[in-house]
């Protein structure tokens, strides 16, 4: 039976051929100032935060997710059913032991702070155990990433595509999102906006550097805190009232819902005076889409449609 192994050998060569055009392993890359080396495409991934889960699902890598944690609800369509079936390691930040029990070869986190002693564990510690770690580059803290752009979001898609050797899927996704983004016409009415994430006493708001600013710019809205060189800040209500934004973007979290925010804004004696509150001029964005990831473009398109539906008389 000599011919069979030879036959298999040819098969192996054929199967390997596409990989030659794809990623060369070991793949070295720099992530938030940490050098990363992947010996092969990760097969067992733990995703912390919804943005990383959505990225993996959008690239068709759902089957490689061995666990998710600290999610903000399920992924949007068309991945909702698939995300509902994923094993949840922890509602909140899991401990290193819970993560290691899932035997991942990569932990992909939406926030750099997820990798800490209080959380999943330090990156170096996980690395020493052979578990690679990756942080969404827009969420880097130990190095300051440039002001977020859609190109940077597309670059993350491409980078994750390269890590998993699914560059074709990544290219297709970027092309699709680029086309979708091109179809969004910025509003030309010269409107101002507040990006209201959470908080009652001191509102946590989108400032000038991260996903909120990027999406507001695409919508043609002027962020009232665009000048503050940070992603998000705890702002004072006085500054908000002084700017009196035309529009308020409400971030819809699972436990901090739009209904709660609307009630809070309407009941508070100061915020109830805002034009946007008096005229109910709100745009709603899902929680996970408010941070850099694959949901930014669809959410921006959705908000553009909401915005077009708002009539504003100055």
């Amino acid at each position: 039976m000599r011919p069979l192994p030879a036959f298999l050998g040819v098969f192996t060569l054929l199967a390997a051929a596409p990989a030659l055009a794809g990623t060369d392993y070991p793949l070295a890359l720099d992530n938030c100032g940490v050098s990363l080396s992947l010996p092969a495409a990760p097969k067992r991934v733990v995703a912390i935060r919804s943005t990383s889960t959505e990225m993996l699902l959008a690239l068709g890598l759902g089957e490689r997710i061995v666990g998710v944690a600290f999610q903000d609800g399920l992924a949007p369509e068309p991945w909702t059913a698939q995300s509902a079936a994923l094993p949840v390691l922890s509602e909140k930040l899991p401990s290193p032991e819970v993560v290691l029990e899932a035997e991942p070869d990569l932990v992909y986190a939406g926030w750099e702070s997820n990798f800490s002693i209080e959380g999943v564990g330090e990156r170096a510690t996980l690395g020493a155990l052979g578990v690679a770690t990756y942080v969404s580059p827009a969420a880097c803290r130990s190095i300051v990433p440039p002001k977020l752009s859609f190109e940077a979001v597309f670059a993350e898609i491409a980078e994750v595509g390269a890590m998993f050797d699914v560059e074709d899927a990544a290219k297709a996704l970027v092309a699709e999102q680029r086309a979708e983004l091109a179809g969004i016409t910025p509003d030309r009415r010269g409107l101002t906006a507040l990006w209201y994430s959470s908080g009652g006493k001191a509102p946590y708001v989108g400032a000038g550097r991260n996903a909120p600013q990027m999406m507001l710019e695409a919508l043609g809205l002027e962020n009232i805190f665009a000048d503050v060189d940070d992603g998000w800040i705890s702002a004072s209500w006085e500054a908000v009232v002084d700017a009196d934004p035309d529009i308020i973007v409400l971030v819809d979290g699972e436990r901090n819902s739009v209904a709660q925010k609307k009630a809070l804004l309407a009941e508070n004696p100061i915020t109830s005076q805002l034009d946007a509150v008096m005229h109910q001029r709100y745009l709603v964005v899902p929680f996970a889409a408010a941070e850099a990831g694959v949901s930014n473009v669809p959410a921006t398109r959705d908000m553009a449609a909401q915005l077009a539906g708002l009539s504003i008389t100055p």
Partner: protein
Amino acid sequence: MNPPRLRLIVPALVVVLLASIVLAVTLGPADIAPMEVWQTIGHRLGLVAESPVGRLREAIIWELRLPRLLVAAATGAGLALCGAVLQALTRNPLADPYLLGLSSGASLGAVIFLLAGATLLMPLGAFLGAAAAMALTLLVTQLLGGVTPSRAILAGISISALAAAGTSLLIFWAVTADSYREILSWLMGSLGGVVWGEALPVLAGVTVLGGLLLISGRALDAFAFGETAAASLGVDVTRLRWLLLGGTALLTGILVSIGGAIGFVGLVVPHIVRLATGSRHRLLLPVSMLVGAIFMVWTDTAARSLFAPRELPVGILTALVGAPIFLLVLFRYRRIT
């Protein structure tokens, strides 16, 4: 009798406090001319026919700055008063609502009520927490063999740590990533977003309870010589002690439920005041209240203006300013003794 300069100190400080409020209300992230601010307040008080500013600026002045300033003044006055009274009652220079565990107990009580959804009853929860912490601290002090300053502080620190751990556990268990930030800022002590509905209970509490505690100044002077001496001067020691302890717990609870655990004001202000007035409580208590109020008006104005449009929890500033001052006070005591 007080020397003349001390007799003038209370009216002088009242003037400084009023001037501070009048000046501080013109400061803030929104750029509004001082004259417009004063005219707007005059308009709301019915003294000026027309407001010179629009609806929103009027709201900034009347709904944001004024209640917050008054709460800052009341909080400073109340904390300084509680500190001075507790220092006298426990004959302990290091006593204050923060160190005796009252603030941590109040925080725990308030967080329990907050997470249970009873936001409106938070002052009650804070009072219950403060009272429970105080009762535990005193009980432990008694069990250790009677009240001495070091025992009271050690007991206070343990109870404080216990209450803080309880608060952390509740936050860890119940609070999501997003609301954590808000609670954290409150735990550090913040007067951001205070509205009239919250300001009025604080003002009423400080006025009523503050007034009652002030009257106790004479009895506290007797206390300072020890309980036997106080009893021989005709003071019902046990009853007075419980009344004063209950009063400080209630006042601390009210203050913490609105502003969170603002540290060092209760500790530092009475010490600084004592340097000027001596330790007679008839003078020490009102002067501490006024100095505490002036101190908080300006630290909170800094907290809301320095990093505009960002909001800084004022507790960070009071600790930043208070801790070094306290060290200076300690060094001064060392030189005297």
